[in-house]
Symmetry: T
């Protein structure tokens, strides 16, 4: 199974500042991954706790890789960081916008040091890239 | 034409710390892009000045997108940043290693704010992802 | 509808350090707003996630303004900030105590840059001021 | 008596960047206070020294509360801060614009720690809120 | 009653990096406390909000002391800090690993200034020490 | 009219550390401007308040450009900065010494971001340069 | 002549927080100096500009030494610093309270680097010490 | 042998600010350890050098564990840190007061990264906890 | 001879963001200098090394003054700084845009402390000002 | 008894950089104090430990005041600070040179916040001033 | 072969500020090495790129050790750092002047962490020391 | 006489982490110096005070040069720095390990700015280099 995780405010995609985030909804983003990978399980939640719990569950439910867009939790949730670090599968972090060109607090990700790959600024296509990265990481670890 | 730019020390790939950078040479990385995009022109150089000049040339030689791995210049070359900013085509920054999990000076890119997409940690496959990102950006700008 | 939002620990008002926070309960604070504005809906929660979700709901339930006291989330919850920024109605931030005269971490609000008005130190009356501010912002936007 | 104090550049209100500061003049702002409180004395001056001296006079001329918009002195005048601290009556700080959403130097007020209430971003109405806050502080101190 | 609180990711103890955190599960850690103190109530949760709420409940349910390991929330949850500060009983903070010898973000605890005792690096035995500390603090306060 | 503004301590030029500031008096500096531009009005004052007021007057007295050497106010007077920003004519900042090669506090100007041109280190001739810059800015704005 | 200079808010001594500043008025402080030195001229003013101008006058009116308590200007007035630096006579800085044990902004004096002697925390007696220091500096310079 | 080390000023315990440090003397604190562990050797000294030398001696005199309260040296003595690091036995750092709730310089320990366990705020009982921690560390290393 | 030096990306002037940099080409900028000074030698290069070498050559080729716009090297090239410092002729630094009003990294020049005069924000005319400054510096040094 | 304490390197006075420290020896400095106060005991030592121990002894040997020049320990010895703080008599800190005008590390004293009076820059006479300050503090505490 | 590398501006030695750098030319410095080691190859260049390339060549041309004085690149060239790190032979960094006693930017070397030995302040003799260090490192690695 | 000074913990060399510090004892290190220079006096001590006193003695006992490895005092002992500065003979600082590649606190030496030469990372051979440097400095000063 491939877990696709979305954090706070991403449920609002489609109607949230399309100039920055694009017009795609979370479902459409997940579909991008589904088109490339089998067995995708999407989990979108505003709650740090439920995201953490979902990652814990992933330790024993056959999850083989994670694609995560933690939303604003990216910048301060060491709890999420620890949960990701605990999970021994390939992990890809993805952000729709080019976070490096926005407010200064968005330039720092507490999550990046514990994931394998980070992709920023590619919009909806970023999920396709993330899916391919996950596939490749899985293949490499054989 | 798609310009694939490599900065200082990347010429040494293949024999440079394979645990961090993988076993692929620059030519093999460029081949990853070539497999996906037509008209690839590779430019690998240790010199900030020649990289800047190559980007200037790209303003009038039909270059339609840039995929750049500036090596260590990523962390301090505002000259390279300005040259990238000057160029009005889609730009993708790619790093083989997960720069966010290494020395602290590698966490800061002066280039990221002026490129469209940044990809770190995906190894050789990162070039494939970059090629797909460039293709999509070109399609979107139609 | 006017949404009055309270974050973590504010449920304990009335019995929390009265020298700093005063003797009023959350209900009494909301009543201050109700005395001045019709259609007040109060939402008090310890959970960042439920506060974020409530703000999302406000995007389509006829909410015309928000009065928010995010408690300690004020100082680090970029998730709450993003949820407030997403909502296109007048927004007023209110704190009972003069946060600027307390511990240094309380001087910085990640929420202030995305709300219209900030009021600190006015105690229970701050809610009355917030209500009047919200009313005026609504009138101004016609 | 209620002292309404304005610092440097506020004399230019009405013609100063209306998108940020609104169209009201200082007189109109003071009138907002007068409509709610009796015995208002307005003092507008570009001079830190005269503002300080006016606050000293207020120690013995029956001044019962102060509403102050110190303009740019807010960000560096420890002299004004000391003068405010010296005065044992209720004090309300008010700023027309949302200072927290502007240049970074405007986010820091050296005055806030010594006043009772701070109100930012409410425009001309902020003075009405300040007047109500002053009235309430006076009532509470009986 | 003695409340033993565990924050995010601690539910995974036993299987989480044993070199750092040891082999004991949360239940075994709580048993260490139970062996020394009567009336222990254990509460383990990934959610900041539920941890805060549990501390609020402790204000009126006869809780006489708290032993808390807030996990990664230690480093940023001012909400948890405020909830602990609100509670007027002896409080002991405990961390399994020597947080001072790990990543720099783990060196800073926003919780330490509001608890009576902090114990780091003692592994599972730290809970025994915490239990003894709580017992002594209770005795001292009579 | 062209307003030439001098801030604190510049009245002492001629007798102030000639190795740093040169031997010219303020009058001689203004004469440099007069030799190049008609209708020069010189205003030299130790007072931040009077400098601010003079700039306000310049909004309606036909002033077409400002050449300002704010002396030490350069480094902290946000009031002066705001007054300059308010004035919609060409503005040139000039310093006799090379401020960048002196004490570190002199390297930062709070005024530079709101003026058109800054000239440092050119000594008395800097006023001639400033006059030419003002003339050119006027021509360009036609 | 010996110039004794007092900056903002010191006119209020006697009635300003006696626990910190003592019960002596400015006149009484100056009398301490007068008891030890002939030809004392006292200048007390809230205005940075007038203090600066007074120091300029001191360059040619026979002033032989300066004793200065610049009040809050101590912490930010580079204009005052420059005026003091310009004056080639012995200079003593004196503060009634132990500034190093108060708010952090009071620990930094921009004036200290350009005066000969600094005395803090000695209360009214500090002026006597300052007078003696000035006398000695005069003697030493013969 | 168990070495109990006390640094500067701890010799004064009993008569030093009892509200912060309690009424116990160093001897009484050491007795707490003696009650739990055999073969305790106490060493109390104001001298960094003698503390360092004592730790060197401990490398070959059969010392099996160290309990250290380095006093103010905690905050800057890298020499003590190196001496502790050199010693390959279990090491416990203990402070009577909750250092994290006091002056900011007390929040940083240069010693913590090289000891196994740190205990703060437990008063005299902290030594009992330290003794138990040492015992357990010895058992674990068998 | 007067050396006019241009660093990276300035070769692109004319077609680079005219709103910021104006419409003039490097040749046109140099012509401004030529109109005022005889014997101008222009050197424009993307390479830090060649700029450094050109400055070395200037030590013995009769160069009497330097006008330099180092482009982005301004912000980090200590090599260029050293080369300028080595050269004992009058040196003028010039930037087309008002660097102080742009991105924060552009506010810091490592070159300013070793040149005589710095001019920012004057556009193409800045070169005319620089030429006059160079002429005057030459005259003053006789 | 009045204790006059000198820290490291002050034993070398007389032969240490007379331009900075003057020509007086420690004995001559102490004589300055002796001329004004009865019962002076001088203690000069390079050792932080012995200085601390001497201050401890002063708690019960009838010492009525301390005049201390801690030398370079001023800038980092929290042990000395604690020893001074422990001692409940008047304390005066004195430095021969104007520490605020030298290397930046000399601007910060960890001792100042716990002494009553600080005197810098007065040279040998500073000891006379310190003696008078001590006398006055003793009289005031009567 | 032993590679002796010199970076920007070192070609000017002999005529560059002899008080700081001494009178020796680069050739004379290299001769110092030659006198002690056989097979010395000197490479002096202003160009970061050519220095990097030379180091790459050294990976396969039999270079057995490197002695490098990178000039001002020392302080910012991460490209040079990476090139040095790539090369698996003994590496010695040498600076003529005592960089730690000069401008603050010269105190930080980005190269030091990847070389074996660093020698500063020894002037021309530093090269002799570097040669001996290289010889010893070669012997030790056998 | 040549003084070879060793600070805290260096007495333990030989048995201290040989991977970092090598297998040589202090005596063997001093022997390296003795092999090259006549009249070596070795002084090894844990005490800052005794090291300072030894340096004072060196002012009049015929000491002609100092080779110092201050151990951890390097990073904070301004007392040692002052003692070294006082001594007008050639001074060489030496560290066995490459301090620049270790913990961040080891990168900063408060001693380097007052010594002539600094050598790091050369292991035992560093003493040989230091001896040669001292010899050369003596020769140069004649």
């Amino acid at each position: 199974m491939i877990l696709v995780l979305h954090g706070p405010n991403l449920s609002q995609l489609g109607s949230r500042d399309p100039a920055v985030y694009g017009a795609a909804t979370v479902d459409e983003l997940v579909d991008r991954v589904r088109a490339l990978l089998p067995g995708v399980d999407a989990f979108t939640d505003e709650s740090e706790a439920r995201l953490v719990a979902r990652l814990h569950a992933a330790r024993s439910d056959g999850t083989r890789a994670v694609i995560a867009n933690p939303g604003a939790l990216t910048h301060y949730s060491y709890a999420l960081r620890d949960a990701l670090e605990l999970l021994a599968v390939p992990k890809v972090e993805v952000h729709l916008s080019q976070t490096h060109a926005r407010e200064s607090f968005r330039r720092h990700s507490v999550v990046s040091p514990v994931v394998d790959v980070t992709i920023t600024g590619a919009g909806a296509m970023g999920y396709e890239l993330a899916a391919r990265a996950a596939a490749e990481l899985l293949r490499a670890r054989g």
